[in-house]
Amino acid sequence: MKQWRIPALAIGAAVAVTLAGCGSSGGSTAGGTTLTFFGADYGTGPANSTAKYWKAIAAAFHQANPGITVSVQTVDWTDFPDKVQTLVQNKQFPDILEGDTAPQFAQSHLLYPDSAVLSPAVLHNLLPTFLKDGRYQGTDYGIPFTTSTRALYYNKKIFAAAHLSSPPATWAQLRSDAAAIKAKGYIGYGMPLGSEEAQAEALLWFLGNGGGYLNAAGKYAINSPQNVQALEFMSQLVKAGDTQPSPGSTDRKDIWASFAQGRVGMMLGSPAVIPIIQAAGVLKPADYGTADVPGRTGPLTSTLGVHDDIVAFSTGGHQAAIRKFLDFAYSDAFQLQFDREYDLLPATQSAAAVLGRDPMFAAFLKNIPDSVNYPSAANWTTVENQIKTTLGQAVTGSPQGILNAIQHTATSGG
């Protein structure tokens, strides 16, 4: 008997592990309702993990509503898409998901509309610019939670060393400034087209030439002549050595870190660059500035605005509890706490009004009303993935061919 105890234990353990892996998500416990919250983590480590932020809200909420418990889980941005994909594939839907876009879930009939899970006062306080992206067949499913816009960052010390007085407003100025900066031994313009966020860098250049991912009719126009021209201009910069080498292999975080180290003259960035600069401790607040994003003939009138949404899954059937929690979580105090922690922008009008009194945030907040957002088509994620992987090669190879391939993916059903 002794010998077969070990295999029996092994199989027992294997079964236990398998069963544990299949544990159900959320549900109603004896004490009341448990909501599962799954969110992206905006922190850089355990010290400023976003889980802390949500757990504090959940605890305060539980005190006010003892019948509802919110269990919080966050995961690093890098692993976030994979983790969400796995949860959905295994039908372990959370009740509330923060960080993704709504239409693809709405298409699969998994979500409550905004109006079902927010009271009218909270719903009408959301910034309207970002609501339309979460719209699917006329109904809003995405609840903007945090937002940001882009501007040109420039290093004033490097500009002074290269005898440049003001940041560029046009592409021609940007090119000559970058060349002057490069002559001083710095990277003239940091152009991250690596897989982290190529879609943002590219869109800001497309917008500068009157292009974009969509045409005026709202249809995909990724291989438009304007976009091809923009990439051709970018590849001239690359070939002249005015950028860092291999833009297609450079991620945004690399360039932001290099800028914080004082090695990059110009780059595009969101307010989230500021904590990185502060952490590096090389540049003082007077050493760098922000300006409008340059375009071919002048600064962009509308820049890129991005937003991360909350979506509420209808699969668990906890509509009333979700509504109570979201109404609670969308207070000004919590919105501002999040923005000050991570240097991002709020998603509600009242919080934006408070934050606008800070000049640093005001420079980015003013761009929100006219911001251009990513397409909200249900297949955008697929298109975006292809842009992330392949667009970097457009500045070293053929822009037309690569944009044609992306346009093909965008318009061929999938």
Binding site: I11, T86, S246, T381
Partner: protein, 326 residues
């Protein structure tokens, strides 16, 4: 597969025969005899169940997934038939990736085997500090492959990576942040560096396998050869290499599988980029997964098929070697 089945049949027959022999001619009853016959199941059962759950089930799921239509967020719409395979085979990037996979496996395994032959020979000699040197050889093996790859990526940073700083001092890299210093940004140089890292992490296992083989060769053979006036090179070719063959074959085939399935080095150093220019089929499968789950599963099935071929080759080679050695 045929060989495995044949061997399984042999085992079954043997077990049944043993059971029948023990039951004896005048068995006390049919029920008891059946129970005795089933007795081995109590021992084999857990192992069979474990294999079924841990090995076979995932394979079945994989095959099923490869024929399903799944949205990028993971919702299964329905059957896709052979569509995933068709789309995968139509992918313009696939031929390049297959060729690159071949080059990757051949280069890494080839260089590893060659270098390990030399290393094993060296570590088989007596020299002061041999024990320390042998321990040191284990280091790349003991370290996490992911960390090793990450550290190499940092060392190759175009602006201040330590390898670039060194090459700059030698005058090979003239300027930082230039195309020359961006080793991982150019597909050809990125592949070369990654092959180097893969060889580096494969050396310890291979060298130790070959070293064990070398130590198993009796010293008298060399003594006899020396008395017959054989040169060192002649002794190496006629004694060492033939007797090393079993160890060599094992190291070779295990490396083939390992390198074919290798993911962390490429993923950490280039993510398969720029574009798809440094993808192998294993990395490509992961890249596909982001948008095309079904197609990624199809790639997995094909990878699995290739692995089966390698495993069969392994069985054949190891059997041939055993016959020869025995």
């Amino acid at each position: 597969m045929a060989e495995i089945t044949a061997r399984a049949a042999e085992v079954t027959t043997a077990v049944t025969a043993a059971g029948a022999a023990r039951a004896g001619p005048a068995g006390p009853g049919r029920a008891r005899r059946a129970r005795r016959r089933l007795a081995p199941l109590a021992w084999l059962g857990p192992a069979i169940a474990l294999i079924a759950v841990v090995v076979l089930w995932p394979i079945v799921t994989l095959a099923q997934t490869s024929m399903q239509d799944i949205t990028p967020i993971g919702v299964t719409i329905g059957s896709a038939g052979a569509n995933n395979f068709r789309q995968l085979l139509d992918d313009p990037n696939l031929p390049g990736i297959l060729v690159r996979t071949l080059v990757w496996v051949a280069a890494v395994v080839g260089l590893t085997m060659l270098a390990s032959l030399g290393l094993a020979q060296l570590f088989n000699q007596r020299f002061p500090g041999r024990r320390v040197a042998r321990w040191a050889l284990i280091a790349p093996w003991a370290a996490s492959v992911m960390m090793t790859a990450l550290i190499f990526r940092w060392m190759l940073q175009p602006d201040n990576g330590v390898i670039n700083v060194f090459l700059h001092q030698l005058g090979i890299v003239r300027q930082f942040d230039s195309n020359t210093s961006s080793w991982l940004g150019r597909p050809d140089s990125a592949m070369a560096w990654m092959i180097g890292v893969a060889v580096f992490v494969s050396l310890p296992f291979t060298s130790y396998t070959l070293l064990a083989g070398l130590q198993a060769i009796p010293g008298e053979l060399f003594e006899a050869a020396r008395m017959d006036g054989a040169s060192r090179w002649r002794a190496y070719r006629s004694i060492t290499l033939p007797l090393l063959r079993p160890a060599f074959a094992v190291a070779m085939v295990i490396n083939l599988m390992n390198v074919f399935n290798s993911f962390p080095i490429i993923w950490e150093m280039t993510r398969g980029g720029p574009g798809y220019e440094t993808n192998t089929t294993t990395v490509f499968m992961y890249n596909l997964k982001q948008s095309y789950l079904g197609e990624a599963a199809a790639m997995s099935v094909i990878n699995f098929g290739l692995i089966i071929i390698i495993v069969l080759a392994y069985l054949r080679v190891s059997r041939a070697a055993r016959t020869e050695a025995g």
